[in-house]
């Protein structure tokens, strides 16, 4: 039994990731971001991010204000850190929703096949014909702005890829012996889907969640830039970048730099980590490490 445990996909992946120094560094960066986002949300880190001081507007970076101040004299560093909170919320909630929709639809389509499969395939094929950003922008436009609707819009527009993968996996797994065995002992469809097959495709969900997370963060920035994102006044990277594009002409570059730098580091860390995670979890790539 011990030997079996040592060969489990998760433990194996953990050890492989631990050996990959770059992936490990990225994981630490991601943990740092999550901690910073949590501390900002709890009001421990930069609690006065919204504090205005009109006498201190557009101060350049200095030892006192590392990333300078904005039009209302607010600390850009503090606002950028609070931007982490928004990005991670959008990433978690938006991707979470898309993963739930994609997994359930994929599982149902792949497991039941026939008309159910046809319907779900028709649905995601139709959805997939609309360019993603246009669909997302249209959805945000219809639903209105705000953090909640933004997460919802991202969630219901970005589940297609995962659905496709899960569907294929379920089609493959439903014919496997362990599923037939489960059928033979009288397991219900629900049990076969969620207790027997799901654990075997969970690594795909994890990888897609990581990929979707990055996409959601970028989508938030793009939508906020287009004026369709979070509510104005919220410290979001997208809003900071859209404001900064006008402020650049008066030489105020630090708002753009701070938001872009924080986003760049997070997205890069997530990308590298996801790559390593995929290599560690994907059975087809496991031998390459």
């Amino acid at each position: 039994m011990k030997g079996v445990k040592n060969n489990s996909i998760w433990l194996d992946a953990f050890f492989k990731l631990k050996k990959n120094k770059l992936a490990f560094t990225c994981l630490i960066i991601i943990i740092f971001y999550f901690a910073a986002g949590l501390l900002c949300a709890l009001g421990v880190l930069f609690p006065h991010y919204a504090l205005t001081n009109n006498d201190r507007s557009y101060l350049p970076p200095s030892p006192e204000d590392w990333f300078g101040t904005d039009i209302f004299g607010r600390d850009v560093l503090a606002r950028s850190f609070h931007g982490i909170k928004i990005s991670l919320t959008v990433g978690l909630a938006g991707t979470g929703l898309s993963v739930v929709i994609g997994s359930i639809f994929g599982a149902i389509a792949g497991y039941f096949g026939k008309v159910t499969d046809d319907l779900i395939v028709w649905l995601y094929t139709t959805l997939d014909t609309i360019p993603y950003i246009l669909l997302l922008a249209g959805m945000s436009f219809v639903l209105g702005g705000g953090l909640g609707t933004l997460c919802f819009a991202i969630g219901i527009t970005s589940w297609v890829n995962l659905c496709r993968l899960i569907r294929a996996e379920f089609m493959k797994h439903r014919e496997k012996e362990y599923v037939h065995a489960a059928t033979a002992i009288g397991s219900s469809h629900f049990r076969k889907i969620f207790v027997h097959i799901f654990p075997n495709v969970f690594h795909i969900i994890i990888i897609n969640f990581s990929l979707g997370f990055i996409g959601a963060i970028k989508s938030e920035v793009i939508l906020s830039y287009l004026g369709l994102g979070v509510e104005p006044g919220t410290p979001s990277w997208g809003l900071m970048i859209t404001d900064a594009r006008l402020e650049l002409s008066r030489g105020v570059w630090w708002g753009l730099a701070a938001a872009s730098a924080l986003m760049f580091i997070l997205v890069l860390a997530f990308n590298l980590f996801t790559d390593a995670l995929r290599e560690a979890l994907d059975p087809k790539l496991r031998g390459k490490l």
Binding site: I71, F72, G227, P232, L246, R250
Partner: protein
């Protein structure tokens, strides 16, 4: 292999360079050709449309005024603004009781050629065109934002509207107050004296539109222009650019009378000459400030307003910055005839029944910061809704409730029943989703946050913004009003109950005493008695604060050295027809840019 590889790369490289050089030379030729063209190029916000009755925004009006023409206009150079005939052949004859206005129109004026006319040739303008167009403006089925101009003022108009509402076929029935004894005479019979009649006949809402075009295009009139104006529509790509070409048969001439300093600035050099001077006028529809500014700096546009983030680079000590002045850039400053304000939706029970809540919001607003941060100091704090350029403006009037006093605001909030903001639901502040508007909303959010009032900012697109105003679906918003004509009545109309949305009274304020005074003022000829009535209305608005007057802005325009005759004024919407371009000078000066 390497050599072959290089050789093929070289071929690709040579081919690329060849095509690139052709492309560059084409661009260069186009650019040189553009420099040589007698064109005026302006950056503009997005246009709603070109139908005079279907659009009421400033941007569209600026273009429509060049395609269509009105009975009267303002003298371009003279100040204070003075009205003069345009399509009218002289000023109207007015009956002793002021109720009957007889207007002769000029003969020999033709609509632009259009497929809607038989043979595609524009026909002569007749008096019936005006009556038809005014009936369109008042047609309840079209719900024009400009109906308020004639509302309750013209004999028999209400009955006609009711009949049309019942059955559209009644549109052709005559309106007793609009008569055309012959094809060159219009008689307007008013149901009560209306001293701003000639002013409204200078507004684009009242411009003549031929029936043939409306019959052919219907609702598509917003995309067509068949007018008698100084320019004709050449092409329009929505949200990109609109190109107008000179109407060679235009009847107008450049003014011979100017104001102090106009002669010295060379603005009278073309006195008596036929206008327009430019062959083509192009409006680039650009939403963002940065490309507007860069396009002007490159000399690709000729005249521009100054975006707030470029003001410090453009203006030094209230004059053009030396580096721009060296390139021939000039500044024109003009009073804005405008008001920026915060508007409550008075249909919302929260505000309707709680004047102390409105006072609290008013005293929490930091207007000085607004002027400093969003207007670059180009404005003054408003004390009432009447701007300083108007006759009934009283420089000594101060409204203490508009002073930025947080403690006083907190007191009012407590009296309103919400001490420290407790119990008050989150307010929704509606703005357009431009960066500047959002930042303005953030300032409002911060200001009210000091009182403990939570504000949710709702950023919407410009069409959505207008639609929500029109449908009365907002709680608080920021707005601006630019005068249609130089009379305080035009600002006081913002609070007249019969002008409620979709009219200009977006706050939907209704006060019987105010309405009574407004109607009384409408029957009073210009002079001290009317000014006194205006001031009484001003006092009611200051007491009730359905809108919080914020600032009166000053207009700053920059124009290149090759532009002559330019004199800014927000009321004169057809001002570009007087502008001249010195083409050789443009070629010369553009090299310096």
């Amino acid at each position: 292999m390497k050599r072959v590889f290089c050789s093929s790369n070289l071929k690709v490289g040579f081919a690329g360079a060849f095509f690139l050089s052709i492309a560059l030379s084409l661009i260069s030729c186009t650019s040189k050709k553009n420099n040589l063209a007698n064109e005026l190029r302006i950056a503009s916000a997005n246009l709603k449309g070109l139908d005079p009755v279907a659009t009421g925004d400033e941007t569209s009006s600026n273009v429509i005024a060049l395609l269509y023409d009105t009975l009267f206009q303002y003298q371009y150079l003279k100040r204070p603004l003075t009205i003069e005939p345009n399509l009218a052949d002289g000023m109207p004859q007015v009956s002793k009781d002021g109720l009957v206005h007889t207007i002769k129109i000029k003969k020999g004026i033709f609509f632009s050629d259009d497929a809607s006319f038989s043979g595609g040739k524009g026909r002569e303008l007749v008096s019936q065109d005006f009556v038809y167009s005014w009936k369109r403006l008042c047609d309840p089925r079209l719900a024009s934002e400009g109906f308020w101009l004639f509302d309750g003022k013209v004999e028999g108009l209400d009955d006609w509207r009711k009949a049309v509402q019942k059955d559209g076929k009644n549109f052709d029935a005559p309106v007793p107050g609009f008569q055309t004894p012959d094809s060159s005479t219009i008689v307007i019979k008013l149901s009560r004296p209306f001293y701003q009649l000639h002013n409204i006949l200078a507004m684009v809402y009242t411009a003549p539109v031929p029936k043939e075009a409306v019959d052919k295009y219907g609702k598509e009139m917003v995309n067509h222009a068949v007018g008698t104006g100084p320019f004709r529509l050449e092409s329009w790509t929505r949200n990109s650019q609109i190109s107008l070409v000179k109407n060679p048969h235009y009847h107008g001439v450049y003014p011979s009378v100017g104001d102090t300093g106009d002669a010295e600035k060379g603005r009278l050099a073309m006195a008596g000459q036929k206008i327009p001077f430019v062959d083509r006028l192009i409006f680039y529809e650009i939403v963002e400030d940065q490309p507007i500014w860069l396009k002007f700096l490159k000399g690709d546009t000729d005249i521009t307003a100054i975006p707030k983030d470029n003001f410090d680079a453009a203006i030094k000590n209230k004059d053009v910055a030396p580096d721009l002045a060296a390139k021939g850039v000039k500044l024109d400053r003009a009073p804005g005839y405008d008001l920026t304000y915060t508007s409550f939706n008075m249909l919302d029970p929260l505000f309707k029944n709680n004047v102390n809540l409105r006072y609290a919001v008013a005293q929490a607003q930091d207007t000085k910061t607004t002027i400093e941060k969003f207007q670059n100091g180009r404005g003054i704090e408003a004390q009432s809704i009447i701007p300083p350029e108007l006759e009934s403006y009283d420089p000594n009037f101060k409204n203490a409730r508009l002073e930025f006093k947080v403690e006083k605001a907190k007191e009012y909030l407590a009296i309103a029943g919400y001490p420290g903001g407790k119990g008050l639901p989150e307010l929704e502040y509606m703005v357009t989703n431009s960066s500047t508007a959002r930042q303005g909303a953030e300032l409002f959010q911060t200001d009210l946050g000091r009182l403990g009032i939570k504000v949710k900012i709702s950023a919407v697109s410009w069409p959505q913004f207008l639609e929500r105003l029109r449908d009365r679906k907002f709680q608080v918003t920021g707005a601006a009003w630019v005068a249609d004509y130089p009379d305080a009545e035009n600002f006081l109309a913002l609070l007249y109950s019969k002008n409620a949305s979709p009219g200009p009274n977006n706050s939907n304020f209704s006060n019987p005493e105010f309405d009574k005074l407004f109607e009384q003022a409408a029957r009073t000829p210009p002079g001290p008695a009317r000014n006194a009535l205006y001031q009484k209305m001003r006092d009611i608005s200051a007491e009730q604060l359905p809108i919080i007057p914020s600032t009166h802005r000053e207009g700053y325009s920059l124009y290149h050295g090759w532009v002559t005759n330019y004199k800014a004024n927000s009321v004169i919407v057809d001002r570009f027809k007087y502008v001249q371009i010195d083409v050789p000078k443009r070629t010369q000066l553009k090299e310096k840019l």
